[in-house]
Amino acid sequence: MHDFLTGPMFYVSFSVCIIGLLVRLILYIRGLAWQLDRVAYRAYPGLGWNGAIRSVLSWLLPFGTSSWRQQPLMTILFFGFHFGAVLIPLFLVAHNLFLKSKLGFSLFTIPQLLADTLSWMVVVSALLLVFRRIALPEVRILTTAYDYLIIALSTAPFITGLLARYEVGDYGFWLVMHILCAEILLIAIPFTKLSHIILFFASRTQLGMDYGIKRGGQKGTSMVW
């Protein structure tokens, strides 16, 4: 099992995720229609990219927008979850050792203490995001089983990763479970709303261009997100 998951399944899940996300991005861009969207994307590339970059960056900054500032609890949970969700898979020492042995290269790594903290933050934030979904009527009405599935898929590698990390019970078992959950997640990403990993940037870029080109950018005022 371990050999299969770290062998063929690793290559499969890894490629499905990367290629899948690229395909999603290309399909997104190809489906943009200047006349239907009513944004002259090509006519004003400068204004468009200016609007786009502001639109993406303000939202990546904790408390960088009115919306983040008005909902501090959500902001903390969102960033608490996403710092780890993005940084751990990419920059964990263990992951990079594995990467090096598999693909012959590795990335920058983060100190173990930081990794532990971020991982715990992911699990705790995910739990609180679930509570938030149940507690707030305006979120409850939107929530479907699919949303819980997405949270479960996203959080499973963190829970199992931590169990392996602290060698709770059978290390080998938790490691196999960890890699299994992680690969399921990687495969699910392009086919579910987890595709937001790339489509977030696409959508924010599009709206930023809309504001930059059509809704005010030409007037020399920039949108305060």
């Binding site: 489906g31 709303k193 959508s203």
Partner: protein, 462 residues
């Protein structure tokens, strides 16, 4: 009975059809027929496949169902935080469901969609600023309105309004002759006070071509006179087209994209004919949105621009004050607490927040201007946007919606509201009437006329 006599999928194309609809007081017969109207699922799904592209599909798919957009919607807030008013819920339960069902929805469902698209969303686009993914329900409800219109599920007044544009190239039964005559008549009325006041019709190559809202012609003709007087005092070389003078578009509120295209092309044709340096539109928000911001796309103009540079009235006023074409007598500036209504259509959706404040700095005595909270691009809809003001069927919902603006105004402590937008102006009038607030509200034109200095050579001889 699938297609009604009054309520059907066909746009209104001629005067008789318009008259028949108008004769149906309050749309009683019309809405009765709507109850029987069939949904053409094939048409609905076919249209969606052709026009609902990745931008909207992605929005619907990646929406995290996080509810961060809830507090951004004034209709959610004012309706006691009814979860059914959460923007994401409104769009998922309408467009989202139609797409999931591949267009196979029934009459009852379409009634719900119609109510949601016109009475639960004014297309103010505020939620799009508060969603982390940048999902703009205002854009999507604009689209949903088009689907509803195509299926015949459109409020009676807007079916008529869109029909008016198709028949008269104006939102009301105002003909080109009515327009020119009314403008001339209003100018004559004021000639004594402003010797030499004229309305140059169809002058080729003027600096400014002025376009209006048909309501001014029909109900507020003094607005036309005021526009003429201000251009006169400012010494502008201006003109109005005898045809193509209507800047508004109720067809945009109705989702009648065919009529939208016809209407703006008519105005653009006037621009091509008269070759003015610029077009200036009246103090209307949706008119600017329709003719200047969205119009070029309906007309298929790849640069997203009308044939000549088009500006909103507030931009002209700011420029005239800046350059000294209009000079305000400092003694006559506003000396009472006053606030400003930011119209969604040209503040959030056209970036004119600073221009309007520049005007304020000229016409209000320092210290008397009070901002609403929130303001500028974060301002709330007046409560009557997107056609909401005009729909009798949804009047109770509209009146409830006015409460947001009422409270915003009351909280400023100001007794005067400057509202350079017809829709906002109406909404503020109605909220004052409905809730007895005791405020005054005004366009810029009358305020400016009361305070600008008339140059010696333009003054009447004693």
């Amino acid at each position: 009975m699938p297609e009604g006599k009054l309520c059907n999928k066909k746009p209104v194309e001629n005067e008789e059809a318009l008259k028949a609809l108008l004769a149906d007081t309050g749309g009683q017969q019309y809405y009765k027929e709507m109850k029987e109207l069939d949904v053409d699922s094939k048409l609905l799904w076919g249209t969606i496949e052709k026009t609902c592209k990745t931008r909207m599909r992605t929005w619907l798919e990646i929406c995290a169902h996080c509810g961060m957009c809830a507090d951004s919607c004034f209709l959610y807030l004012v309706n006691d935080r009814d979860p059914k008013q959460v923007p994401a819920y409104k769009i998922q339960s309408t467009l989202g469901k139609i797409i999931k069902a591949k267009g196979k929805v029934d009459n009852e469902f379409m009634h719900m969609v119609m109510e949601t698209a016109w009475a639960k969303c004014t297309c103010c686009n505020r939620c799009g600023m508060y969603c982390p993914h940048g999902i703009d329900m205002g854009v999507m409800f604009g689209y949903v309105r088009g689907l509803c219109y195509q299926q015949g599920f459109v409020p009676w007044e807007l079916k008529i309004g869109a029909g008016m544009h198709r028949v008269y190239h104006a939102q009301m039964d105002v003909t080109d002759e009515d327009f020119v005559e009314t403008f001339k008549w209003m100018v004559e009325e004021n000639e004594e006070d402003y010797p030499g006041l004229t309305v140059p019709v169809d002058k080729v190559g003027a600096d400014i071509m002025y376009t209006v809202n048909a309501r001014e012609v029909k109900h507020y003709p003094e607005d036309l006179a005021e526009a003429a007087i201000l251009f006169h005092i400012a010494g502008e070389n201006w003109t109005v087209p005898s045809s193509g003078w209507e800047q508004t578009s109720l067809s945009m509120f109705a989702g009648d994209w065919g009529a939208c295209k016809m209407q703006v092309e008519h105005v653009y044709a006037a621009m091509e004919r008269l070759k003015p340096k610029r077009m200036v539109g009246t103090e209307c928000g949706h008119a600017h949105r329709a003719t200047v911001i969205e119009g070029p796309y309906w007309a298929g103009r790849k640069d997203g621009k009308p044939p000549v540079e088009c500006i909103h009235y507030v931009e002209w006023v700011a420029e005239a004050l800046r350059t000294g074409k209009l000079k305000v007598d400092p003694a006559k500036r506003i000396k009472q607490p006053v606030t400003l209504q930011d119209s969604c259509n040209y503040i959030r959706n056209s970036g004119l927040k600073e221009v309007t404040r520049e005007i304020i700095s000229h016409i209000v005595e320092p210290g008397y201007f009070v901002e609403m909270s929130p303001n500028k691009e974060h301002n709330f809809c007046c409560g009557g946007g997107g056609g909401f003001n005009g729909i009798g069927l949804f009047r109770p919902q509209r009146n409830k919606a006015l409460i947001t603006k009422r409270d915003q105004i009351i909280n400023t402590g100001a007794k005067l509201v400057i509202a350079p937008c017809h829709n906002c102006w109406d909404a503020i009038r109605d909220l004052n009437e409905e809730y007895k607030v005791g405020i005054k509200w005004s366009f810029l034109k009358p305020l400016l006329i009361s305070m600008v200095e008339v140059p010696e050579h333009l003054k009447p001889e004693e």
